[in-house]
C-alpha cells in the first residue's frame, strides 16, 4: 500500500522516516511526510536521529565527521552513497538556512554562583534520585529569559508572529555516531529546578536508550544545544524550525577575568580573578528578532546565571 501511495503521490520513500516495526515505512509515515511537504516547518516537528542538529564541530567545519566526508576527502571518482538520515539532515539544514535569516550573538557568563549552588544542592537532589546537571540551570535560565522576552518564544508566519503560550524547551542529546535527538521539556515554566533536573535526566536517559515516545520530541518552542561537551567554545547552530532561536552553550572553562569593584574613593578597583566561564551564543531568526532584543534576551539569561541563588 505504501508503494502505491508513494508512486501515486510522487514521494521518494528515501525521504520518509519509517516508524513501523523494524523501521518500516507505514501509511502514517507517508501521510505525515505529505502533510509536511506543503508547509516547510512540519518535518522539523518530528525530528528523528540526527535530523535536527549536526554536532557543532561539523557545523563549523572544524572536524568533518566520517558520516559527511567532504568531496575532497573521498577518493577521486568515487561517490559515498547517501543514507536516509544523511539525506534528511541535508534537506532540513538547507531548508532552515533558506527559511530563516540566521544571526548569532555571543556573550559570556560567570558560573561561579551556579556552581556553588550546584555543589550545595547536589547531595540533597541526589537523595531524591536526581542528578543535578548544569543543563537544568540553563533550561531554567532560558525559561526566565523567554518570559522576559516573549518574542523569542515565537514562530514566524505570513499572517504574523505567533507567540507561543507554552514554553517547551528542547534539549539536544548526542547519540554519538548515530546523530542527535531533541527531547522536549513541555511547559518548562511550570517546573522547579528539581523537577527540571529530573526531566532532563529522564529524557536524556531515555533518548540514549531510544525509548522516547514520538510526542516527546515534538512541539518545542526553543532549543538548547550544549556543544561545549565536545570542547567547542562557541558555535552558531542552525535554528530548529519553526522556532525563533537556539541557545548554544560552550565549554565551561576556568579563565582569568578582570573583576571591577568600587573602591572607597568612589573610583573602580580592578583585580584579576580565576572564574568558571562559559560562552553562550544565541542564534536567532532576524525576521522575528532584531539584534537589540536578542541581546536583551541573552543578557537576561547571563544575569540569571551570574546572580543565581
Amino acid at each position: 500500500m505504501v508503494a502505491r501511495l508513494a508512486s501515486e503521490q510522487g514521494v521518494d520513500l528515501g525521504q520518509v522516516r519509517g516508524t513501523g516495526q523494524g523501521g518500516r515505512i507505514t501509511k502514517k509515515d507517508v501521510q505525515a511526510y505529505l502533510e509536511g511537504r506543503g508547509a516547510a516547518p512540519a518535518p522539523w516537528e518530528t525530528p528523528a536521529l540526527g535530523e535536527l542538529f549536526r554536532p557543532s564541530e561539523e557545523l563549523r567545519g572544524a572536524q568533518p565527521s566520517a558520516a559527511a566526508p567532504s568531496p575532497a576527502a573521498a577518493a577521486a571518482g568515487s561517490t559515498v552513497p547517501l543514507t536516509a538520515v544523511r539525506r534528511s539532515i541535508a534537506e532540513h539544514m538547507v531548508r532552515s538556512r533558506h527559511t530563516s535569516p540566521h544571526v548569532s550573538t555571543i556573550m559570556e557568563a560567570d558560573l561561579s554562583r551556579v556552581l556553588s549552588h550546584r555543589q550545595a544542592h547536589k547531595e540533597s537532589f541526589g537523595r531524591d534520585g536526581v542528578n543535578l546537571t548544569l543543563t537544568a540551570y540553563f533550561v531554567s535560565a532560558s525559561v526566565a529569559a523567554l518570559k522576559a522576552v516573549p518574542m523569542a518564544n515565537a514562530s514566524w508566519s505570513e499572517q504574523g508572529i505567533v507567540l507561543h503560550r507554552g514554553v517547551n524547551i528542547g534539549v539536544a542529546v548526542s547519540l554519538g555516531d548515530e546523530g542527535l535527538i531533541v527531547p522536549v521539556i513541555r511547559e518548562a515554566d511550570q517546573h522547579s529546578l528539581l523537577s527540571l533536573a529530573r526531566k532532563v535526566n529522564d529524557l536524556s536517559g531515555r533518548a540514549r536508550a531510544h525509548k522516547l515516545a514520538p510526542d516527546e520530541v515534538q512541539g518545542g518552542t526553543f532549543t538548547i544545544t550544549n556543544h561545549g561537551v565536545s570542547g567547542s567554545l562557541f558555535a552558531t547552530p542552525i535554528i530548529n524550525q519553526p522556532q525563533c532561536a537556539i541557545l548554544g552553550v560552550g565549554a565551561l572553562q576556568k579563565r582569568v577575568v578582570v573583576i571591577e569593584t568600587p573602591d572607597p574613593a568612589g573610583g573602580v578597583q580592578d583585580s584579576v580573578a580565576i572564574r568558571p566561564m562559559v560562552y553562550l551564543s544565541l542564534t536567532f531568526d532576524h525576521r522575528i528578532l532584531d539584534g537589540a532584543l536578542a541581546d536583551r534576551f541573552l543578557g537576561h539569561l547571563v544575569k540569571t546565571l551570574e546572580g543565581w541563588g
Partner: protein, 465 residues
C-alpha cells in the same frame, strides 16, 4: 525493598502471559489468582467449549450426515457426559501446562483474593483466610470479567444458566432458550443443536452476531435456521420465570409478545469487568462509568506503577487481545521495545457451525467513515476443498479502501474460517494490499484459496467467479 518487581492479579490469558513476558525480561514476578490458573478461558470458557463443539460437530454429522455421506446408524447413543468429561480433560491439561510455565519462568503463584493496600502493596487472602502481603514495584490488574445478568433474573445453575454452569453441566436439556447471540450464545446454540436439543436463540439487537458485518449475520442466521435453531432477532426478553418443569421466557419482538417455554435458559448477554473489591477506589485508579479500568496505550492506569490489561479494561473482551495487551504491558514495564496495539485490527472469532471470523471495519462502518470502499468476495461453494469437505456454506469478504488498496477489514463465514484469519491480519499489520495476497500462491486445494480468490476479486480480476 519490594518482594517483587511485578505482581500480576489474575492468571487468565492476559495475566499469565504478562507474567511470563515480564519474567523473560528479567523481572522477578508473582501472580495471584483467587480461583485458578488459566482463568475463565482455559477453565470454563474458550478451551472446554472448543472440545464440546468438536463433539457436537461429530454428533451432528452422525445424526444428520448419513444421507450426504452414505451411512446409516442404528441405535445411535450420544453420551453427553462423556463429552463434558473430555472437555474437562482438555481444560485440565492446559491448566497444568500453565502451572508448568509458571515454574519454568520462576514465577511465584499465590492463590487468593488480592486487594490493594497502596499502589505497591497487595494483601492476598487465601481460601483458608490467611493473609499475605506482597510488595511490588509494578502491579498489573488482569482480573477479567463476569457474566452480565438481565436485571431481576438470577442464575440458579439449574433452570437459568450462565456460561459458567452451562460449560460444566453433564445434563443435556431437551429444550433451551439462549438469550444473547454473540459468540458465547452462538457457540452454546451450536453445541446443543448438534446434540439434538431444541434451541431458541433470542437476540435483542436486530440480528445474530450483531457486531459482525451485516452479511455475516444473515449468513449465520440462514445456516442456524437450516440446522433447526429457532432464531429470534430484534426480540427483547422481558422476564424469565422459573417454576414447574423449567423456565418461561417472556419476550417481545417483531411478532409481538410471547412466552417461550423450555427446560433451561442460558443468559449470554455480555460480560462486565471485575473491577470491584480490589480497593481501586481508595487508590484513585480511574474507572469508566461502566467500571472499566482506564488505561493508556502502554497499559498504564492513572496511578504510577499500576497497570491493567484484558477484559477489566473493556477494550475488546477477548482472550487473545488480553494476551497481546499482557505482552505490551510487560514490555512497557521493563522498558523493552514494544508496539502499540490497534484494537480495531484485532481478530474476532465465533466457533459456531459455520464459523464466523473477522477483523477490522465492516463494510457499513467503512462507508460511514466516508471511505471509498471496494469489496472482494468469494463463496466457499466454488472452493474445491470446501465442497469435498461437505461444508460449503459461507464466503470470504475483504473490505478495502478503493484507491490505495488498504485492507480495512475482512469477514469470513464458513468451515474452519477462524484458521484463515491470520494471513489477512498479518497483511493488515504490514499494510499489504489484496494485490500481494492474490500473488501469494496458495496450496490447491485448500480453504485458504478462498482468500486468494477474494483478493483477486478486490483487485478487480477474479479468476474463479
Amino acid at each position: 525493598m519490594p518482594d517483587y518487581d511485578v505482581v500480576v492479579i489474575g492468571a487468565g490469558p492476559g495475566g499469565y502471559v504478562c507474567a511470563i513476558r515480564a519474567a523473560q525480561l528479567g523481572k522477578k514476578v508473582a501472580i495471584v489468582d483467587r480461583q485458578w490458573l488459566g482463568g475463565v478461558c482455559l477453565n470454563v470458557g474458550c478451551i472446554p467449549s472448543k472440545a464440546l463443539l468438536r463433539n457436537a460437530e461429530i454428533a451432528h454429522l452422525l445424526r444428520e450426515g448419513g444421507k450426504d455421506f452414505g451411512f446409516e446408524v442404528q441405535g445411535l447413543k450420544l453420551d453427553f457426559p462423556a463429552a463434558v468429561k473430555r472437555s474437562r480433560q482438555v481444560s485440565d491439561r492446559l491448566v497444568k501446562g500453565v502451572g508448568f510455565l509458571m515454574k519454568k519462568n520462576a514465577i511465584d503463584v499465590h492463590m487468593g483474593a488480592a486487594t490493594f493496600t497502596d499502589a505497591h502493596t497487595l494483601e492476598v487472602t487465601g481460601k483458608d483466610g490467611a493473609k499475605t502481603s506482597l510488595k511490588a514495584k509494578d502491579i498489573v490488574i488482569a482480573t477479567g470479567s463476569s457474566p452480565m445478568m438481565i436485571p431481576g433474573v438470577q442464575a440458579d445453575g439449574k433452570a437459568v444458566l450462565t456460561y459458567l454452569e452451562a460449560i460444566l453441566q453433564e445434563r443435556l436439556p431437551k429444550s433451551v432458550v439462549v438469550i444473547g447471540a454473540s459468540a458465547i450464545g452462538c457457540e452454546f446454540a451450536t453445541v446443543w443443536n448438534g446434540y439434538g436439543v431444541a434451541v431458541t436463540l433470542v437476540e435483542m439487537l436486530p440480528r445474530v452476531a450483531p457486531l459482525e458485518d451485516e452479511e455475516a449475520s444473515k449468513e449465520l442466521a440462514k445456516a442456524f435456521t437450516k440446522r433447526g435453531i429457532k432464531v429470534m432477532a430484534g426480540t427483547k426478553v422481558e422476564g424469565v420465570e422459573v417454576g414447574g418443569p423449567g423456565v418461561r421466557v417472556r419476550v417481545a419482538g417483531p411478532d409481538g409478545a410471547q412466552v417461550i417455554e423450555a427446560e433451561q435458559a442460558l443468559v449470554a448477554i455480555g460480560v462486565k469487568p471485575n473491577s470491584q473489591g480490589l480497593g481501586l477506589e481508595t487508590l484513585g485508579v480511574k474507572l469508566s462509568p461502566r467500571g472499566m479500568v482506564e488505561i493508556d496505550e502502554r497499559m498504564a492506569t492513572n496511578v504510577p506503577g499500576v497497570w491493567a490489561i484484558g477484559d477489566v479494561t473493556g477494550k475488546l473482551m477477548l482472550a487473545h487481545v488480553a494476551s497481546a495487551m499482557g505482552v505490551v504491558c510487560a514490555e512497557n514495564i521493563a522498558g523493552a521495545p514494544t508496539v502499540t496495539l490497534d484494537y480495531e485490527a484485532m481478530p474476532r472469532a465465533i466457533y459456531s457451525q459455520p464459523q464466523v471470523a473477522s477483523f477490522g471495519l465492516t463494510e457499513a462502518q467503512a462507508k460511514e467513515r466516508g471511505l471509498e470502499v471496494k469489496v472482494g468476495r468469494f463463496p466457499f461453494q466454488a472452493n474445491g476443498k470446501a465442497l469435498g469437505f461437505g461444508e460449503y456454506a459461507g464466503w470470504v469478504k475483504i473490505v478495502t479502501e478503493a484507491k490505495y488498496g488498504e485492507i480495512l477489514g475482512a469477514h469470513l463465514v464458513g468451515p474452519e474460517v477462524t484458521e484463515l484469519l491470520p494471513e489477512l491480519t498479518v497483511a493488515r499489520m504490514m499494510e499489504l494490499t489484496p494485490a500481494e495476497i492474490a500473488r501469494n500462491v496458495h496450496a490447491h486445494p485448500s480453504l485458504s484459496e478462498a482468500l486468494m480468490e477474494a483478493a483477486h476479486a478486490a483487485e478487480g480480476h477474479p479468476i474463479h467467479t
